[in-house]
Symmetry: C2
Subunit: 462 residues, 2 copies
């Protein structure tokens, strides 16, 4: 009995310990995944300690008094992970406070005129009115997306100053103290956020878009290998995990929108100037997501148990399409990442398009069609073909918007290192062997803007 | 010259007026789309006016003094659109303030012991430490999702009280005043938010999930009509706008997650009890989204210019599949909306599955396959078929999770109004004519749980 009890105690202790260990491991992982999180925490601590000097230093305390707490509150509420978000919130807080304080002082004087009984009634009415108007304004799409925080601060400051003013006769001093301490808090945040290991929302967006495209590229390249080449040898199941990266792309819209909103506040930094075309990134992001939806459909076939028998010719051609799209996407992603004009993407897209054109003759000669064919067996093959054709089209659209971005911000043009070679379009030549897959990409300059005109090609072909 | 100037002025004036008119129209539309927004604005105004009484009433002001401003600040920051969000923020603000105030008082006493020079240094260190720890904690997924606001308030209160305590010797009174005014502000928000025309996040989630399914149903029913029946007569372009409703479903994840988080805070209301299985709604939502991805692929074909010639037999069968899926989805949506067990959904799914099974013989006998067939012409037909088969599978999965929800919360079972009739499975009987489309749905009870076992059927058939 005693032994049992001891054992149970030990079990409980062990369970508790393993839980704590798992928690610690989680915490360490969060820090390891993105060390900037640790830096951010230290920065917040630093900013907060700095503004508390307003309390600790006698001369500072003499001039600000208890109003110093507004600086503390501002730091806690304004300091965000990215410099853009901090800047946006800081500037909005400053401006909204200024505007609201001015109006509140005005309202206070107006209320003052109406005598002792009228004053609180009129003040209450003003507070009610502005709260209703600005709360409703927060539903207005533009305000909701960009100035939500500003509206909240406006309501806060107006209510606070006009109501306090009822008790405190030095309302101007109150407004001035609140404004100046908020400016101190806000500028402390902004300075630390911008100068000490800054995290730029714009750069985050830039990298997010590139890495999303990279994930799709990984899938497409992997799909070519796993589905078409390893379907028989039974090891396909083992290697599929790396294909799931695309799933996060499906729900990235919200994150992208937020980052673009923050990025608008940021000054020029690194390779980005002040008015970098962040909207174009959202466009690329939307097209990438559309491609990801097709890939999600394709992935369903990867997981289905009943794999159809696909003649090797078709397999090769489909694999070619998928691989070439993947390569084009990878090239585009690295073009964004390095801000260098994409050269080889055209070629890969043309290759995948010519592979798609080849499909007709390949399908014709494959012997898939006979008098006693089980037509439903054809369906999955045709679907994969059709989704791949769709994906080629999506890739083309993405390439188009990346080119737009490249011309908007003057991506660097790097000289091709390999002698140019025309893409083979519309020929039924044998495709490259799979051994070529990892050969260094051939960098080729194509003169004519075949992308813009060719957008609907693959569609009508389909 | 003068006339020109006048004209230009008038033009500018007209432009300005039309802009103002457009703005007013927008504002009116926001209010009309959801009148609860107007009510919410009024509620915020009411709450704010109520807590300002702390200033206006002499006896109240005598007990709280300037601390009354915390009530005002709390109302502005805590009052959210839905009762759940307000409750969550209010409770978190209260608890975090209590905890942080207690710790800050402790830290203050500890610092007091270390003498006049040591005190500010130790206090500064404590403030730095808690800011670093809690800012980092906000990156922890569970905390980020649910207790983000609580962490912010903890940092705020701890810093504020421990720093103020350095100057104010009555730190206990300070903590007490802050806590009590925050409780007054928070409870005002919660009472008004819950009692005056409450907006329940849970109900919003419930309706959102149902309406998302409704949108997919609209598309599927419309697709059956528009693509397969009106392809020839050239009017298809006109009627397509109502098919675009599904697009909002693609990016609904964030909204659903938020609503589910808020709904967890809400007490029982209307048809929902306190611990309603909100997670199950997220599961249904995820499956609905997966279906929407397939529909997005399908929609690409609706917009492609090159419509293939589809033999009428195939068209009828595909239309049948799409329509039956749409009907099943509509039935499931209305089952959720009314919280009544879905009866006819089974039948519609079985119908669409048997239509899918029929496809084989239909395709075989359609004459699509000849010696001189352009195989690439087959591809779009096969894709539509395959996507529809996928959608049937998705619909089955959605039905499954709706049934799970129905048994979790005991949906009402309503007696079938029409005599039961077995679904026709696996027979190549002629399908219902399109005139049957809008006939009253046949409500049938199926005994065996064919859904759970049949999940992978359509896949292996594909």
């Amino acid at each position: 009995m005693d032994f049992d009890h001891q054992k149970r105690e030990q079990g409980r202790f062990g369970q508790g310990r393993s839980r704590i260990e798992a928690f610690c491991e989680n915490v360490r992982k969060i820090g390891r995944d993105d060390p900037r999180r640790v830096v951010h925490s230290l920065k917040v601590g630093l900013a907060l300690t700095l503004v508390s000097l307003l309390y600790y230093c006698q001369p500072l305390y003499d001039s600000f008094g208890v109003s110093a707490m507004w600086a503390v509150i501002t730091v806690v509420l304004v300091f965000e992970f990215s410099a853009g978000a901090t800047l946006g919130k800081g500037v909005m807080r400053g401006l909204a406070t200024l505007l609201a304080a001015a109006l509140a002082v005005g309202a206070h004087h107006l209320a003052n005129l109406s005598g002792r009984i009228g004053e609180p009634i009129l003040l209450g009415f003003f507070v009610f009115l502005q709260a209703v108007v600005f709360t409703f304004a927060r539903f207005y799409p533009t305000i909701k997306a960009r100035y939500d925080y500003g509206s909240v601060i406006f309501i806060l400051t107006f209510s606070f100053i006009s109501v306090s003013g009822y008790r405190d006769d030095e309302i101007l001093k109150l407004a001035y103290l609140r404004l100046s301490t908020i400016l101190i808090g806000g500028s402390t945040c902004i300075v630390i956020s911008v100068l000490v290991f800054p995290v730029w929302a714009g750069e985050e967006l830039h990298n997010l878009i590139a890495s999303n495209m990279d994930k799709l590229a990984c899938f497409l390249q992997g799909f070519g290998h796993v589905y078409f080449e390893m379907a028989e040898d039974g090891v396909s199941k083992r290697d599929k995990s790396f294909l799931q990266g695309y799933a996060t792309v499906l729900n990235s819209k919200n994150n992208e929108d937020n980052l673009a909103n923050f990025a608008r506040w940021e000054p020029g930094h690194g390779r980005f100037r002040f008015r970098h075309p962040w909207k174009q990134y959202l466009k690329i992001g939307a097209r990438t997501r559309r491609c990801a939806y097709r890939i999600e459909s394709l992935n369903g076939h990867l997981n289905s148990q009943a794999k159809p028998e696909i003649p090797s010719k078709i397999r090769e051609t489909c694999s070619e399409m998928s691989l070439e799209c993947g390569r084009a996407m990878k090239e585009l992603a690295s073009a964004i990442k390095t801000m260098v004009k994409p050269f080889a993407a055209h070629v890969h897209i043309e290759n995948s398009k010519s592979a798609a054109e080849n499909l007709n003759s390949v399908l014709q000669s494959s012997g898939l069609l006979g008098d006693n064919t089980d037509v439903l067996q054809l369906v999955p093959v045709a679907t994969i073909v059709s989704l791949l054709i769709d994906i080629v089209k999506c890739t083309e659209e993405i390439a188009e918007s990346v080119h737009e971005l490249a011309s908007m911000v003057n991506f660097e043009a790097v000289e091709p290192t390999v002698s140019p070679e025309k893409p083979k379009t519309g020929q039924s030549e044998p495709m490259k062997s799979p051994d070529d897959v990892n050969s260094p990409s051939i960098i080729i300059v194509i003169d004519e803007p075949s992308l813009e005109n060719g957008t609907s090609d693959s569609k009508s072909r389909a």
